[in-house]
């Protein structure tokens, strides 16, 4: 086994070009668990934690978008500029593990692992984020919806590094909520991100841990936009909230597993989405 610790993106790209099957490690909060329990024994590892270029954030106020480096740890998203422009991401970051996990775990790690329970992923989906990938020779941008292709499977090609993700800065309320077995230090049993676009009068709802990848509730989104004018700040009648919740639950595709049951997860996303919609309009 070999471990490489590049200091620049160029060196990291060289290392993966020379050995496209090498395993990347970012904060290590997923991969090391698998290694500690002998579930994985990688032969060659490229550690990205020392590549400073992957930790930068650019805010583009002209195009109203923010680009977050794949190596930025969650603790840097909890407050400050990112929290100000993408509050749902700050809320999601805040629910990741513990301070120890948030100082190590990164948004690029979430994308690389591509678990449907990854806390940043519903936010990226609800905001129609893009994922920026790079090889030594080329770079490309992929929609988050095309990037996530299955349980722990993504569209990253051999030799590519996930360098950053770009999210739009949206005017309107946004939030993230999740259910786990306790308040701190949990992996999602079910999660939900809701984003209201006040300018365009649209809403986006994305669900985590209730399907093979993050689920966007597109039917519910367009249904709601027809019921009320989201450009204003309407009060949500009770029956509308109820129907919204059950429509969201109907679009989820949960399973029974070691963490919870499908029935509970369906119930959880109905409640979480209803709660977020209520918070958005109060």
């Amino acid at each position: 086994m070999s471990v490489q610790v590049p200091r620049t993106l160029d060196d990291a790209l060289k290392a993966i070009a020379a050995n496209p099957s090498a395993q990347f490690i970012q904060g290590g909060t997923d991969l090391m668990v698998e290694i500690n329990f002998n579930h994985r024994k990688p032969t060659d590892v490229i550690a990205l934690r020392r590549v400073d270029e992957l930790k930068s954030t650019q805010i583009d106020t002209k195009n109203m978008q923010i680009t977050i480096g794949a190596g930025l740890p969650y603790q840097m998203m909890e407050r400050g500029e990112i929290a100000e422009h993408v509050p749902a991401l700050a809320q999601a970051a805040r629910t990741v593990g513990s301070p120890q996990i948030r100082s190590a775990g990164t948004i690029g790690g979430n994308l690389g692992t591509c678990s449907p329970a990854g806390d940043a992923l519903p936010v990226l989906s609800a905001l129609d984020a893009t994922v920026n990938l790079q090889t030594q020779k080329a770079s490309r941008t992929v929609s988050i919806h095309d990037f996530m292709i299955g349980v722990k499977r993504n569209a990253r090609m051999p030799g590519e590094i996930i360098v950053s993700t770009t999210l739009p800065i949206v005017s309107g309320w946004q939030g993230y909520a999740k259910v786990g077995v306790r308040n701190a230090m949990v992996i999602s049993v079910a999660s939900c991100c809701l984003v209201v676009d006040r300018i365009n009068g649209t809403i986006a709802v994305a669900l985590g841990a209730v399907g093979p990848t993050i689920i966007r509730c597109r039917e519910t989104e367009s249904w709601l936009a027809k019921q009320i004018d989201l450009r204003t700040n309407p009060t949500m009648p009770d029956n509308l909230l109820q129907e919204f919740g059950s429509r969201v639950a109907n679009e989820s595709k949960p399973i029974d597993d070691h963490r919870s049951t499908a029935a509970y997860r369906r119930h959880a996303v109905s409640t979480l989405s209803r709660r977020l919609l209520l918070r958005a309009h109060s």
């Binding site: 471990v3 090391m32 590892v45 120890q100 190590a104 230090m185």
Partner: protein
């Protein structure tokens, strides 16, 4: 670029450089600290980042050493619980754990002490919620946390007196 494929690399722990020899390079920092460098203060319990018993400070951040691949931590400044007491004199936090009865079986104690020292180094007078948040990644199954919070309060008071 550093290549740790020779199975010899060095780590800077508590200000001293240590050579790690004859190891498998996929080993966790926790394992290397305990089994290769003779620093058993950090405890191994869950080995999946849930319990915080293995908390160390790496480049100024509290991290679970079980989730750090040791060979990737070259050039990092690693501080373990062994770095706290100097010449046998306990820190205010360590002393408060004793006087307030914050220790029962003791397995979680090193991780908690490191997490609390880290909090107080950045925020000498944290609120109750900030304390709870700072140790939310450290699990204690004996004390019920009451006496741990008392120890933190005590340490805050004593630190304030000692440092003014």
């Amino acid at each position: 670029m550093m290549n740790a494929n020779t199975e010899i690399y060095s780590l800077t722990v508590n200000g001293k450089s240590h050579q790690v020899k004859d190891s498998w390079v996929g080993e966790s920092l926790l394992y290397v600290l305990r089994e290769r460098l003779g620093l058993p203060g950090s405890k191994g319990a869950c080995e999946q980042g849930e319990c915080g018993s293995c908390t160390v400070i790496m480049d100024g951040d509290a991290v679970c050493s079980c989730l750090v691949m040791a060979a990737t931590a070259i050039d990092a400044d690693i501080r373990t619980v062994e770095d706290l007491a100097s010449d046998g004199v306990l820190t205010e936090v360590q002393q408060a754990f004793i006087t307030e009865g914050g220790v029962q079986c003791g397995f979680c104690t090193p991780g908690l002490v490191v997490a609390i020292e880290h909090l107080l180094s950045k925020n000498p007078e944290p609120s109750e919620i900030e304390i709870k948040e700072a140790i939310s990644g450290n699990i204690c199954r004996c004390t019920g946390y009451g006496r741990i919070f008392e120890a933190v309060d005590k340490a805050i008071t004593v630190r304030k007196v000692n440092r003014t």
